[in-house]
Each structure stands twice: as structure tokens, then as C-alpha cells.
């Protein structure tokens, strides 16, 4: 890593700047820090001075009113018992008219009941008034606090004056309400700065005088130190007022001259912001000065550093010239200091260098002569090389001629290829005709899932024009209504399917197969074959109807036979000999099988006709299983097969048609027992899943051969090994079972291995809340 390189000049400048600017900045910031407190103190001093004057005015105002009250009411007119009440009232009326400053004068009896009032504008019983009670108790004039009588914008100060008789007992009281308008003017007239205000607050922190009337009797903000201020008598205070920081001076007004006061706080305060704005202005000027000084120092520093580094630069340039080969150079420094000494030595050194240089030149000339002789030898050698090149060129030309011949042969081969291509084209046309005239509908989707071929038959089935759909993707095709069912069947990504039925309309049922087209291990896409099976379906339906009809007709006589046989066997029609009974029992069982077969056939017919109705109700599937297993117990015991039934302790109910689901379970259990050899095991299990019940019936029986597994759920299917073991059986049971389970919204599937056993699974959805 290469470190930063500072030139000598830079270092000099930095040192000079450090010792110039740092003291300057230090001084500057010191002044700034002192400035704020200085200005604040100055402002406070001003405020305190104004405050002193305002306090005197307030004291005077109250004291004067107090003196007036004493002067006017401490007279014999009021204290004399001989003067009748009417005269006293007249005197009050007279005073009230002369002194508009008294907004109300009320005469009270010794218990505080109103005898007369000059205005009657007050509220509340005097007898409970604290100031009245004090006046009564102390027998002296009591000054109230400033309070609102009936109007909060018009504060009042009241005097309570006891009139005493000669025994020094109060006989009357006079309450005088003072008009405070002039008093408020004292506060209003105070002007401090632009937004400074004067506040008068009482001991409890209520604003009792302020330029804004609406604020009267509001509380001063809680950060004003009420108690501390009373203790300190006067001082500086910071508090919040209507979300603004105020700085001001306070003073407690304790006494109105010689009369007792109320500990009112007179506060003169200015928004802190206002004081700070002045500070800011001065601060700006100081910053500007600091900035200018810094620039000046920087200039001086750079000049000084130049005078130091100039001689150094002369040395550097001289050294450069010497390096370039100029030995005539001389350094001229006349500073009369170490630099000049250095210059003399430097010049001496150059002289030495020049001598060495001359000697070196002589040696160089010698060397050049030797080099010239060697060059001549080399030129001779080059001439012999030229001849060799000429010979090689001639050989090359021969090779080119050979190449030209081979090219002609190649062109001939290409012509043969063209012929083969034409033949292939003809083949392709044939294939195309094949596809176009094919009776099944054909579609071909390429590797990207885009339709690349559609034959006329398919166009007819899907009611589209080939030009509209060729090149469209599966997703785009899905938007064409007639295409939609097909695309839904194929899925988003085409999978191989084999003969799936697709109902396109009442008169068109298709059988769809999707085949992967693979050529030389590379998948080219999918071929979709649409085979019209409408007619076959119709035939099938007619067949089903026939079977249904026939079965119905068969069942009635079979039932009759069954009951007749039963009655004979039960001995209802007289004694039957053991031989007869054996024969009859065989007939009964054969008849029973017949009925079962007919029932199965009927069920199948119903399923196919869509008449296999389900009446779902919430049922406990566990109980149904138990009942079915109970029915098969005897048969299993006979075959020495163990039936194991496992289920969780509690099972949620599922919506099922009990009769049908029992039939489905019965089919599975019956099959399991039927196709398991003696000593085997049948396991029935119910498992609870998140959204469904999973039921499984597994056996250790003969299993289903792998090649026949895909047809297990089709009609009349019987596995070859099953047929060998049990000749009877319709091959309808699992078809019916599958239809029942699916009609319940469930799924059925199985796992089987020939010779080891089979497990059938089916699921039933749980009832959603």
C-alpha cells in the first residue's frame, strides 16, 4: 500500500493554518458561548426594571382602593346604631354614584344576609364566603383574591369591611367590589420586546390579569415554579406558555404598601425565540468575521510557505536539467542562509559530473565501430534466405490446382441430394392427406404448448377455423368457448391421457387421447386424438336401460321364490326331511346370489342413468364400519380369517348416505375376505386427516396382477386370478363402490401386489364448519 504523500509545501501550509486558525476559532466560539447568556441577562435586567415599576403601580392601585374603602365606610353613619337602616342605604347609594370604581357595594347584616346592594350582581351566600367569615372572625378589613363574580372576563377584587359597635362586635358588614378595568390596563400597557407579556397570577397559579381576557382564570402552565417563586420573592424564570418557551422575571407582590397582600406573582416574560433571534443575528456576524479571517490566514500561510519552498524548487529544476544531460546549469540562490551554502556545494557537484560524462562519451564511440562491422555480416546471410522462399511458393501453387478439382466433385454430390429432398416432399404430402382425411380429429401441440396442426375433423368437433387457432398457446385457446372443455381436460401442461370421455354437447361426445410424440429420443410435442363416440354412448345407454328393465322384471319373481323357499325351510308349510332341506338350502343360496346379482345390475344401471340418488346426513362412519364388519364376521370366521378394526377414539361426523356408504364398505370388506386365503388377515382402519377421513381396507390376499390394475374399477372386470379362485362374482362391486365414494366427494384408490395382498383406500371430506 502506498501512503499519502504530502509535499513539503503542503506541510508548511498546514502547520501555519493550524497555529493561525485554531486560536481564532477558539476565541470565536468562546465569544459565541458567552453571548447568549450575556444577552439573556441583559434582557432579564430590563424586564426586572420594568417589573419593579409595574409592581409599584399595582400596589398603589390596591392600596388606594383600600384607603378609599376605609375612608368612606369607617364612618359613624355606618357604625352608629342610632342611624336608621334607610339612611345607611342612602349613604351607600350616594357613595356608589360618586365612585364608579366600586362596581357594587353590599350591606350585610352580622350573619351575612343581604340588607342592600347597589347592583345585586353577585352569586352565592355571603354567610359561607371565606373572606366574609375571615372579616367576621378577625374583625378587620379583608381583601379578597381577584376572582370572577359572574363574568370571567371581568375580574373583581372585593373588600370585606366589618362595622363594629362600641363593644368591638360586628353589627354590619360592607362588601365592596372593585372595578378592575384600570388595574388590567396597568398590565396591558406593559410592552416588552415585540411579543413580551405581563402576567399576574395568584398563589394557586390562576392567571388573574393578562392582556388576553380569554385567558383570565386559566392556569399558568405547570412548569412555572409556583412555590419556589414565593420562596425566592423575585428572580428569573423559564416556563411554557401556550406551547411557547418564555423567559422572564417574576416578582412576588406581598404587601400593598402597609396592607397585607396575597402573594401575587407578577411575571414579565418574553418568548425565548425572540431573545434567541437577536443572538442569532449577532452570531451570524461573528461567523462571517471568522470566515473572512480564516481566508486571510490561509492566504498568508500560502505566501509564507512559498518563500520557504522557492529555493527548493530551483534545486529541483536544476536536478531535472542535469538528469536531461545539461551540465552547464548553475543554481543561483542569494538568501544568505543554509540554502545558499547548499547551492554552492550543488554547483561544485555538477562540475564533477561533467568531467565524468566526457570520459563516458569516448568509450561509446569505440563501441559503435564494432557494431557496424557485425551488421555487414548479417546482410549477406539475409540474401541466401530469399532464394529459399521462391522455391516454396512454386510448390504451393500446385496444391491449389488439386483443391480446385475436388470442388467440382462436391457440386455433383449436392445435385443428388436435391433429388432425394423432392422425394421426401412427396412423402410429406401423402402424410398430410392422411391427416386431413382422417376420421378422428387430430391436434398437434408443439414442445412449447402451441397448436401447430389441426385437421378438418377436429375443426368440425371444436367449431373453429384452423387459421384462427394455429400457433395459439393453450392459455389463449382456453378463451375460445368451444375449446374450453378440451383444454380443461388436457390441463395446463399436457399429460398423456388415454381415452377420456369429453361431452362437448348433447349430440357430441368425444373420447380424447393425448399421446407424446417422440422421435429419436426427442420429444416433439403432443398429439391429441378426438374420437367421436356419440353413437357408442347412445347404444350403451339403450343397453343400460334394457338391463335396468330386465333386472326389475327379474327381481320380483326372484323375491317371490326367496320367500317361498324361506317359508318351506322354516317349516311353516310342514315338516321337511333333511335331504329335502339340503337341496332347498342350495336353491335358496343360489336364489340369493341371483338377487344380489340383479341388485348389482340395478345399481349399475341406476348409476349410469344418473338416478343413483344420495341422501347425505351427518353420520358417524365408525358405527357404519362396525355394523358392516359385524355382518361379515361369520363369513370371516368360517374362512378362519382375522378381521382387525382400528379407529381413533372420537371421529367427527361426515355427510353420507348411510345405506350407500354401507354398501361401498361392504363391497370392500367382502372382497377382502373373499380373496384372502384361510389364516389370512383383513385390516380395516379409519384415520382422521385435516380435512378428510381416510379409510382403508387391506388384506393379505391374492392381490391384483399388475397388468390388470388399471381396469379394476371398470364394469364387469374380474381379475384372472380372482376368477380362478372364486368362480362367482359379477365384477360390478368395485364399480359401484367407486361411484358411491365419488358421489360423496371422496376419492378411492388402491395398492396391490400379486400374491401379497391389496389395500383399498378411500377418503371422505369432513363437514366444514
Amino acid at each position: 500500500m502506498k501512503g499519502f504523500r504530502f509535499s513539503f509545501k503542503t506541510k508548511t501550509i498546514l502547520i501555519l493554518l493550524f497555529f493561525g486558525i485554531v486560536p481564532l476559532l477558539l476565541n470565536g466560539f468562546f465569544i459565541l458561548s458567552q453571548l447568549e447568556s450575556y444577552l439573556k441577562n441583559k434582557t432579564i435586567q430590563n424586564l426586572e426594571e420594568i417589573e419593579r415599576l409595574v409592581a409599584v403601580q399595582i400596589e398603589d392601585f390596591v392600596a388606594e382602593a383600600f384607603n378609599n374603602v376605609i375612608f368612606l365606610f369607617k364612618t359613624p353613619v355606618f357604625s352608629s346604631l342610632t342611624v336608621p337602616l334607610e339612611e345607611k342605604i342612602a349613604e351607600i347609594k350616594k357613595i356608589a354614584s360618586y365612585y364608579p370604581n366600586f362596581q357594587d357595594i353590599t350591606l350585610l347584616d352580622k350573619d351575612g344576609r343581604i340588607l342592600f346592594s347597589s347592583s345585586f350582581k353577585f352569586y352565592g351566600k355571603f354567610s359561607s364566603n371565606f373572606w366574609f367569615l375571615q372579616a367576621k372572625e378577625k374583625k378587620e378589613v379583608i381583601i379578597s383574591d381577584i376572582y370572577a363574580v359572574l363574568d370571567p372576563t371581568r375580574p373583581t377584587l372585593s373588600f370585606f369591611l366589618p362595622i363594629l359597635d362600641e363593644k368591638n362586635e360586628p353589627i354590619f358588614f360592607i362588601s365592596v367590589q372593585l372595578n378592575m378595568e384600570k388595574f388590567l390596563e396597568i398590565i396591558n400597557s406593559v410592552k416588552v420586546g415585540e411579543r413580551g407579556q405581563a402576567f399576574l397570577i395568584n398563589e394557586r397559579g390562576d392567571i388573574i390579569a393578562h392582556p388576553y381576557r380569554s385567558l383570565l382564570f386559566e392556569k399558568i402552565s405547570p412548569d412555572y415554579p409556583l412555590k419556589e417563586a414565593v420562596f425566592l420573592k423575585k428572580g428569573v424564570v423559564e416556563f411554557t406558555f401556550r406551547e411557547e418557551k418564555m423567559v422572564g422575571a417574576f416578582r412576588i407582590i406581598e404587601n400593598f404598601q402597609q396592607y397585607p397582600g396575597k402573594n401575587w406573582h407578577l411575571i414579565l416574560a418574553q418568548p425565548k425565540e425572540e431573545i434567541l433571534s437577536l443572538v442569532r443575528q449577532i452570531r451570524k456576524q461573528i461567523y462571517f468575521f471568522l470566515f473572512l479571517s480564516s481566508i486571510a490566514i490561509a492566504l498568508i500561510a500560502s505566501l509564507l510557505s512559498r518563500s520557504i519552498t522557492q529555493p527548493l524548487e530551483k534545486f529541483i529544476s536544476a536536478a531535472h536539467q542535469v538528469t536531461a544531460g545539461n551540465f552547464q546549469v548553475q543554481v543561483e540562490v542569494k538568501t544568505n542562509d543554509e540554502f545558499e551554502d547548499l547551492a554552492t556545494t550543488f554547483n561544485q557537484m555538477i562540475k564533477e559530473l561533467r568531467n565524468s560524462y566526457l570520459k563516458l562519451n569516448e568509450a561509446k564511440a569505440n563501441l559503435e565501430r564494432q557494431v557496424r562491422a557485425r551488421t555487414e555480416q548479417l546482410e549477406t546471410l539475409a540474401k541466401s534466405l530469399d532464394k529459399e522462399v521462391e522455391k516454396r511458393t512454386r510448390e504451393l501453387n500446385l496444391k491449389i490446382e488439386e483443391l480446385r478439382k475436388s470442388r467440382t466433385a462436391l457440386i455433383n454430390i449436392l445435385e443428388d441430394v436435391e433429388e432425394a429432398r423432392k422425394k421426401a416432399e412427396e412423402e410429406r404430402k401423402k402424410t398430410n392427406a392422411l391427416i386431413v382425411n382422417f376420421s378422428d380429429g387430430l391436434l398437434f401441440f408443439d414442445q412449447e404448448g402451441k397448436l401447430s396442426l389441426i385437421n378438418p375433423q377436429a375443426e368440425k368437433f371444436l367449431k373453429v377455423n384452423s387459421q384462427e387457432v394455429i400457433g395459439q398457446s393453450l392459455f389463449q385457446l382456453k378463451k375460445i368457448p368451444s375449446f374450453q372443455p378440451l383444454i380443461e381436460l388436457l390441463g395446463e401442461k399436457i399429460q398423456e391421457i388415454f381415452r377420456k370421455e369429453l361431452k362437448m354437447g348433447e349430440d357430441l361426445i368425444l373420447e380424447v387421447s393425448a399421446i407424446s410424440v417422440i422421435s429419436e429420443k426427442e420429444q416433439l410435442g403432443h398429439l391429441i386424438v378426438l374420437h367421436n363416440i356419440t353413437r357408442e354412448k347412445m347404444v350403451e345407454r339403450i343397453k343400460t336401460e334394457f338391463v335396468s328393465l330386465a333386472a326389475h322384471q327379474l327381481r320380483t319373481p326372484l323375491s317371490a321364490i326367496k320367500w317361498t323357499l324361506r317359508m318351506i325351510l322354516d317349516g311353516d308349510l310342514g315338516e321337511v326331511s333333511p335331504d329335502q332341506k339340503a337341496l332347498l338350502e342350495k336353491s335358496y343360496l343360489a336364489n340369493e346370489r341371483m338377487i344380489n346379482l340383479i341388485n348389482d345390475l340395478l345399481n349399475v344401471a341406476r348409476i349410469e342413468e344418473g338416478r343413483y340418488l344420495y341422501k347425505p346426513q351427518p353420520e358417524d362412519i365408525g358405527i357404519i364400519f362396525s355394523e358392516v364388519i359385524e355382518l361379515h364376521k361369520e363369513k370371516a370366521e368360517r374362512k378362519k380369517i382375522e378381521i382387525i378394526f382400528k379407529k381413533p377414539e372420537s371421529l367427527p361426523k361426515v355427510l353420507v348416505d348411510k345405506e350407500k356408504i354401507a354398501l361401498a364398505i361392504s363391497n370392500l370388506v367382502n372382497n377382502a375376505i373373499e380373496y384372502t386365503l384361510a389364516g389370512g388377515k383383513v385390516t380395516v382402519e379409519i384415520q382422521k386427516r385435516e380435512k378428510e377421513l381416510l379409510c382403508l381396507v387391506s388384506d393379505t390376499g391374492i392381490g391384483i396382477p399388475k397388468d390388470q390394475q388399471s381396469r379394476v374399477f371398470t364394469k364387469f372386470f374380474r381379475a384372472t386370478n380372482a376368477m380362478r379362485m372364486q368362480t362367482e362374482g359379477t365384477g360390478l362391486g368395485l364399480f359401484i363402490t367407486k361411484n358411491i365414494i365419488e358421489a360423496h366427494g371422496g376419492k378411492i384408490w388402491f395398492q396391490s401386489e400379486e400374491g401379497k395382498g391389496t389395500t383399498f383406500y378411500f377418503s371422505l371430506p369432513l363437514i366444514e364448519n
Binding site: L85, I114, K121, Y123, G124, Y147, P152
Partner: protein
């Protein structure tokens, strides 16, 4: 690199030192609330169950001091001259308006009174303090006439009887002069909230005529006792006094009056300078508890405006309290009014004048 850092460090230090002058941390700590151990209540006499108070004291481990007043003029005078004396006061509707205007009240902190949900809807949407910003309605009632049927027959349910010479010395009037004045205004058929000066003068004249007929202008408890011991046969009296009187003397019946009656509601308020506001809120919340409210109602004989409390009051008491909060007769209720103009200067002047006229000749 290191050299450069060495050169920069002193600059940074200088800047840090100098700027630190400008930031001085100075934040006052909020005052920690002390546990309030005392609650001073100022209320009408017999207007709050002693049992309820004692249970509150026991539950919260505090001391409750109860001072009583005879009329709210008295209470107001105390509040005006000593706003820090009480933590809870009870005041009627018009006084709440006045105290609110004079900034004498502290707003209620609803978050501390979760039981407010039990308050009757009418009490929440009242005219004088919509939404219970400053006061918690307590009891609603009206002023009517109680008579002793043993002595007074054929009462026609009008105020005429209060000026009837036949019953001289048997009539009791309340000591509240607002009642005295509005009684006269009702009798004369004048609007009680917006009377003219002439109408007021006539009402005062009429009220003064009563002075010689009546036993006196008495506080509610005195009125109650006068009716019970049958010294008074007729009383113009608050509906809240009726239950205890009837319990002691079943001959006394109470009537709303055909001219209409003065409706009023008493409310709990916290004065602006109350020293124990937290405890005051706790008390109000306690009082609103339906069971407590029911207990209180049974004891003071008045229904509190508490919806849920009704289910806890015994049926007999509930039956005798019914119709005492508002007149049962629709036509009377239609003519009845709250007296919200009581602090109107003209009306105030009239009331004060009436007082001086009634008492100046007394000594």
C-alpha cells in the same frame, strides 16, 4: 493516511468542545404523584349514603370528610373564595353552567371513570353539560307540593294553596330563593327563563306576599321534619325529600303542579383547585357501580341516574321512588323546565333583590 488523521483530530476536538457549549441538558423531571389519602366532599345533607362512604374508605384505605350545605348558594360562595377546599362538590344544573363559565371546574377524565357506561342516556346528553365534560349527573328531580291529607282536602294541584290565608302558618317554603322566585313566575304563568323586567317585578311582589303566610324559608331537612311532625301541612319541596317523609308519615302526599314544575338535576363536580383529583375520580367511579348506586338510592331515597342500578333496588322502594325524578303526568312534564337562566344578570339581580327584601326588615 495516518498522518492525515493526526492532523484532523485536533480540528474535530476543537469543534466538539466549542459546540458542546450550546447544548446543555436541562430537562425537568415530571412530579411523581403521591398517594392521595383524603377526600373532601361538599354536599347536601342526607344526600349520600354513609354506608357507601364507609365501604369506600375501607376499600381504598382513605379518609372521606363530608361537609354539608343547606343550599348551593352557600356551596358556591365557598368554591369562589376557597377553590382548593373541596375535592368533590354537588351542584345543580344551572350552577354547573355558571361554574363552568367562571372556570371553577376541572374537566372529568373519562378514562378514570369506566363505570360511566351505566349512566342514563338522558344524563349523558343533558343541556347543561353535554357529554359530561365537567360533571357527573347524580340525581334528577323536581320541586312540587307535599300536603298532609289529614288536614288538607280537595287539593287542586295548583300553586294557589301556597297563598291560601286558610293555611297561614302551616306552609313551608324552601330556603332557595331561585325556587321562591320561579315558583311565583310559574304561578303567574310567566316564562321562568326569559321573563321581562316587569314580569320579574310582579313575581317578586307576589313572592313577598307569601312571607307572612309561611312558617319560614327552610332548608330541606327542616322542611322534611316540619312535614313529618305535622307542624307544616303544605310544603313546596324537592321531590327527593318525599321518600323519607312518606316513610315516617304516610298521610303526606306529593304532587306535581298543573302550572308545570321546575326540573333540576344534581351533579358531582371536581373544583379546579381540588387537591385530590385522582381520588375524586375513583370515588365517582365507585359511586357509579350499579350495586353501590342501588344501595345509595335506597338509603337517600332518590333514584340516581344510573340505568343498571335499577335492577338492584328492592321492588317496594323502587315503586315508591318512581315518579320522583320526573312528573308522571305528560301535560305537566310538557310545561316543566330547567332553570338555566339563573345566572343571567337580570335574574340574578332579581333574586338578590328578593333576598334583601325578605331579610332586611328581619333584624
Amino acid at each position: 493516511m495516518p498522518k492525515k488523521i493526526l492532523l484532523i483530530i485536533p480540528f474535530i476536538l476543537i469543534i466538539l468542545i466549542t459546540t458542546s457549549f450550546f447544548f446543555s441538558p436541562k430537562k425537568p423531571l415530571p412530579p411523581t404523584p403521591l398517594k392521595e389519602e383524603e377526600l373532601n366532599i361538599f354536599i347536601w345533607e342526607n344526600y349520600l349514603s354513609q354506608k357507601v362512604v364507609e365501604e369506600f374508605e375501607a376499600k381504598f384505605g382513605v379518609k372521606v370528610n363530608i361537609d354539608t350545605f343547606e343550599d348551593t348558594d352557600q356551596m358556591f360562595a365557598v368554591l369562589q373564595s376557597q377553590p382548593e377546599k373541596y375535592d368533590l362538590i354537588v351542584a345543580e344544573d344551572d350552577l354547573v353552567v355558571l361554574m363552568k363559565n367562571l372556570k371553577l371546574l376541572s374537566p372529568l377524565d373519562h378514562s378514570m371513570i369506566p363505570n360511566l357506561i351505566y349512566l342514563k342516556e338522558e344524563a349523558k346528553q343533558n343541556q347543561y353539560d353535554f357529554g359530561n365534560v365537567f360533571c357527573l349527573p347524580y340525581v334528577a328531580g323536581f320541586t312540587g307540593i307535599a300536603i298532609n291529607e289529614k288536614y288538607v282536602k280537595d287539593f287542586d294541584q295548583t300553586r294557589k294553596i301556597l297563598w291560601d290565608e286558610n293555611y297561614k302558618g302551616r306552609i313551608s317554603m324552601p330556603n332557595n330563593l331561585e325556587e321562591v322566585l320561579t315558583n311565583a313566575l310559574f304561578y303567574l304563568g310567566y316564562p321562568i327563563n326569559t321573563p321581562t323586567k316587569e314580569q320579574l317585578a310582579k313575581a317578586i311582589e307576589l313572592a313577598l306576599q307569601q312571607k307572612d303566610l309561611i312558617i319560614g324559608y327552610d332548608d330541606p331537612i327542616t322542611q322534611r321534619n316540619l312535614m313529618i311532625n305535622e307542624e307544616a301541612w303544605i310544603a313546596y319541596i324537592y321531590s327527593t325529600e318525599v321518600f323519607p317523609i312518606q316513610k315516617a308519615n304516610p298521610n303526606v302526599k306529593f304532587f306535581a303542579l298543573k302550572e308545570g314544575v321546575l326540573l333540576w338535576a344534581d351533579n358531582w363536580c371536581i373544583p379546579k383547585d381540588a387537591p385530590h383529583k385522582h381520588l375524586a375520580h375513583q370515588f365517582l367511579n365507585y359511586l357509579l357501580d350499579p350495586k353501590v348506586s342501588a344501595q345509595n338510592s335506597e338509603e337517600i331515597g332518590a333514584l340516581m341516574v344510573n340505568e343498571a342500578a335499577k335492577n338492584f333496588i328492592s321492588p317496594e322502594i323502587k315503586k315508591s321512588l318512581e315518579g320522583l325524578d320526573f312528573p308522571r303526568e305528560r301535560e305537566i312534564l310538557f310545561k316543566s323546565q330547567y332553570f338555566l337562566a339563573s345566572t343571567d344578570p337580570t335574574i340574578r339581580e332579581a333574586i338578590n333583590l328578593l333576598e334583601s327584601e325578605l331579610f332586611s326588615s328581619a333584624p
